[in-house]
């Protein structure tokens, strides 16, 4: 059974079509990279899945629910956690407060903090740096620490699927390595399904898993990351020569 299924999803901004009739599905526990050049529609697709920009056509199913056009908070409550591009930390809140924002949705008001405490310890165990600075303002963290914070924050909601938009954006390569190392470890530990958007395919080839290539709002290629990465078709599609 697939956890996430899209059929003929389109996203339009006024007269501009960012995503054209995209269809794919993602099984529980899978790791999927969506790559492609700037303006390929990757972020728009992710925003449509998270409910931020409702799709103009098509249907999205998640965990046996039709989530097409549902509000972002409803989708989050079904277990789809989105980490948007640009690391949207709540800058004036402390690190711990940032982590706690998403924990409200699963527990009743009473005993909320106690229940969240276990989750908190788990996130702190993965990202010890966050624990050290738990009471400082999130806006003061470095880019890499903020990336860890937003991933940790997404995990606090106890999701089934985490969708991450460009986790390596603006990070030094060694920091990106650390971020991915944690992600892979988390995936194994929590049986997470991961949907990661990256501009380049190198990271996907290093990590492995499934990879899709988007260009001009459409999915051009879909297959094993390592096999695809080496193929001629990939180069052709990415740089836009060949039939396009």
């Amino acid at each position: 059974m697939s956890l996430l299924a899209l059929s003929n999803v389109s996203v339009r901004y006024g007269r501009l079509t960012a995503v054209r009739q995209v269809t794919f599905s993602l099984a529980e526990g899978e790791i999927l990279f969506i790559t492609g050049p700037n303006g390929a529609g990757k972020s728009s697709l992710l925003r449509a899945i998270a409910g931020v920009t409702p799709p103009s056509g098509g249907r999205i199913d998640f965990a046996d629910h039709d989530i097409t056009g549902r509000a972002p908070e409803d989708i989050a409550r079904l277990g789809l956690s989105m980490v948007p591009e640009g690391r949207d930390v709540f800058g004036s809140l402390s690190i711990e407060e940032n982590l706690m924002v998403g924990t409200g949705m699963h527990s009743a008001t009473r005993g909320w903090k106690a229940r969240a405490a276990t989750e908190l310890e788990a996130v702190y165990a993965t990202f010890p740096i966050l624990k050290d600075r738990r009471h400082s303002q999130a806006g003061l963290l470095s880019g890499g620490q903020q990336q860890m914070l937003v991933i940790g924050r997404a995990l606090m909601t106890n999701p089934r699927l985490v969708a991450i938009d460009e986790p390596s954006l603006g990070l030094a390569p060694n920091i990106t390595d650390q971020v991915y190392e944690r992600l892979i470890a988390l995936r194994a530990m929590r049986k997470l399904t991961l949907l990661i958007v990256e501009q380049s395919s190198t990271r996907a080839m290093m990590v492995g898993g499934r990879m899709m290539l988007m260009r001009g709002g459409e999915i051009l290629l879909d297959g094993d990351a390592r096999a695809l990465g080496q193929s001629e078709a990939m180069q052709a599609a990415y740089f836009g020569y060949g039939e396009h």
């Binding site: 931020v52 908070e73 948007p84 949207d88 709540f90 809140l93 407060e97 998403g102 008001t109 806006g139």
Partner: protein, 304 residues
Amino acid sequence: MGSLLQVLFDALSLGSLYALGALGIALIFGVMRLVNFAHGDVIAACVFALLWPSVDAVAIIFAGNLPWYLLIPFLLAIGAALSVASEIVVFRRFRRANPATMMIASFALGFVIRYFLLMLFSSRPKSISLLPSLSQPVEILGARIPLLQLITIAVTMAVLFGLTTFLRRTRFGLEMRAAAENFTMARMLGVRANRVIMGAFALSGALAAAIALILGSQTGTANIMMGASVMLMAFIATVIGGMGSLAGAVLAGFLLGAIATVMQVILPPDARAFRDAFVYGAVILVLIFRPQGLLSARGTKERV
């Protein structure tokens, strides 16, 4: 010494009004980028909620006769209900509109509320005596301070303390602070948009009711225009404090109260009448040199 103390208390109690008003505006701006011009009219509506509708010159006190321990919760509930109703009926439809459109809509709503009051109560100011026992003065270090002024300051401090605790310690407060900073992100973490926005409107309405109580007791009149002047200063405080920053709004409210009181004392008598004009001029200058506000918070910017 006595007169200095007098000035201090004047500044604090005037600043209290502005701070409470600015807080009500900043709360809503924070969660939905709405500059709520109707806030002042909600204040006026709360004052009139004490009276029975009639266009006669003499006010018929209705709810105003309740003992204070019933009167206060009653009025707070009225303010919150009115404010939440304005969200449900009007502002909810403007969630995706741009801030300018919402601003005009709130301006129109303010007029609807104001003229609704006019229809029920006429435009004549009416005298009411709300909590009259509070107007007698108290002697402190040689200064005669009206008891009401002390209570105003104490109540404002209590409200500010309560609100801070609420925002810092409760889950709902945390969600609200997160939503004020980045509404979409908060929603993607499962924070329910409608609940947070309605919560902000309820709090803002209750704050409007608190102002109505203080204003009603201070002036002893009910006037359909009475919210307007507080609202304008509250706006200015919100702008100076950095739109959407709650702490900034409160600080700027007290700052404006202090400036206005000090100007009243030091300006030559001829220029005193132009006190407000000086303050409005100052706000334009603040906007020019620091459009993000004098005391702006990190990460709060206009979302357009």
